[in-house]
Symmetry: C2
Subunit: 337 residues, 2 copies
């Protein structure tokens, strides 16, 4: 029941000229008298003519659409990233075609195929957690479709990427703890196989090394451990903990729970720093110090890199490790005041 939109040929017919002339009048390609040009433009306006981008796409082999593959929408990080992406693509006149992978590799592969089928001009992807296959991404590259990876990347796939500087982010957090008197710092790690988990852990280790604190294996826990609460509890009981750095703000909250149970005051006896600057960090008590990854900016950058690549595929690969910001709130002791 969709109404037929008026086309260039309709205008041509009405004015007894050919579609070519109408096209040139509307796009300013010359070869049309001033009088006809005005006539055509007037009629086009009157009839509410709007060019059909589908026809143009077919001809130009371009869709002015970019595809996005994102694990999910609900984490604050991704919605901010999405907002950043949207802000630049919409300004550049590009449409955004969105697919979710649900952190599921098969769905990611399917989404990739869908976007390729849709002939998007480029793809922006955050690869899913448990990714061990990369053929589908290689296929994107092979097809000549520009690809930019955001947030997570793999060395297996040679393409521009924008990631957060997890190492430095973790390092700055743990160094702050060290500088403010912490010597026994717990770390709760993130999901296995994720470069972010690894890099944050490395940042933790490096900060300890720099401040000549020996690494204590007992102070390192796995966030995915089903007995995490008990593990934290026994860790707190058996070690003179004075600091904690966790892979996420949610894991930091687990520490809050145990500390509350054991009546260990934060920050007086235990300084805590989380990661990601989720909204909850300003609402829990005490407010949580954390590491902000600037997801909006990451999205902006990723989208820009992609557009650059679309406009000139021979351009040198642009990659960024986005700086993090240490956000200090009530959960940390500060020796200086």
């Amino acid at each position: 029941m969709k109404k037929k939109r008026i086309s260039i040929t309709d205008i041509a017919y009405a004015l007894h000229v050919t579609p070519s002339t109408v096209s040139r009048a509307l796009n300013g390609g010359g070869k049309v008298s001033e009088k006809k040009r005005l006539e055509i433009i007037a009629l086009a306006k009157e009839l509410g003519y709007r060019p059909n981008p589908i026809a143009k796409s077919l001809l130009e082999n371009k869709t002015h659409t970019i595809g996005l593959i994102i694990p999910e929408f609900t984490h604050h990080f991704y919605s901010r990233m999405l907002a950043g992406i949207e802000s630049v693509t919409s300004k550049a006149g590009y449409q955004l075609l969105i697919c979710t992978s649900n952190e599921n590799q098969n769905q990611e592969i399917k989404s990739t195929l869908t976007l390729l089928d849709a002939r998007v001009d480029g793809i922006l992807a955050t690869i899913s957690k448990m990714n061990d296959k990369f053929e589908h991404l290689q296929e994107v590259l092979d097809s000549g479709t520009p690809l930019v990876l955001v947030d997570r990347f793999s060395e297996e796939i040679e393409t521009p990427y924008v990631i957060s500087d997890d190492f430095k982010g973790a390092f700055s957090a743990v160094e702050y703890l060290c500088q403010n008197g912490c010597r026994n710092i717990l770390h709760i790690k993130g999901p296995d196989n994720l470069s972010t988990t690894f890099n944050r852990f490395m940042g933790y280790k490096e900060a300890l090394r720099k401040h000549e604190i020996e690494l204590n294996e007992h102070l390192i826990l796995e966030g995915s451990d089903p007995d995490l609460f008990e593990k934290i509890t026994s860790c707190m009981k058996n070690h003179p903990l004075d600091g904690a750095f966790t892979y996420s703000d949610y894991l930091a909250f687990e520490i809050y729970k145990v500390a509350s149970e054991l009546k260990i005051p934060i920050p007086e006896q235990l300084s805590v720093i989380g990661y990601a600057d989720e909204p909850i960090s300003t609402y829990i008590n005490p407010t949580l110090s954390t590491v902000n990854q600037q997801p909006f900016e990451m999205g902006v950058l990723g989208a820009k890199y992609l557009l650059n690549r679309i406009h000139d595929p021979t351009i040198a690969m642009e990659t960024s490790r986005v700086e993090t910001k240490l956000i200090l709130r009530e959960s940390c002791r500060n020796l200086n005041n």
Copy 2:
């Protein structure tokens, strides 16, 4: 630099048949010998042929794409709604084209035009807050493009919609407070001009009326008041408050802050219920009772209505007022246990 994808004519040429034959072989339209059919299918597979949906769109005047206009991504409500929408559209084989309005009417109008230009098969929209013009939406309808409004709607525009039952949601929350001994219940209202603000307020009033509690104007505050904290404080000091119902979880948190300042224990002395079931509600202390609006389900429903309309535009208009769920957590007294 995008590689040319292999087309139906390439296959036709290689096999010395016409494109028509290839098309029929691939789509099973008969008129092709079994032998040729298998040959064609084999070659298509070998060459990695994938049909070009752009060409099909041009022919069919359908894009298998639905447009989404959403105010923003960062509120949990919208990201859940988006997830719900995506879950049904992707299953139905539809692409999702996303635009944000940033709660800005001009941008909403622009987005609408963009989607119409893109020839989407239907539009799903959450109209922006300060909406007083509806011509653009009427234009969508006039163009014959199915439109479904989600979360917010206007009587000016006659189309299917899915909204949350704010009245009942508020009513159930306030009634719960009444049933559990509260007689002096504070209400903090939402933004002006929003039907949700009005309806939640009406629900509040109706619950009081039903439980024969007289409405006290002094117990009703504006969430947008810059001196909200002070207003709440003086309200708590001057009235024997025993309950509070707020337009949002964030406003409920303001009450937490004041209560903490005044050393009023929640829920022992004051029961609090928020609205929206934002993630923070399970992380603040005590955990916050709230009203869940089932945004995921709203998205699912909206998308389904739209798809139904796309498949049969003459179908009767489907609208829903989605039930809310009262989520009881630690912030409310319960007389029964």
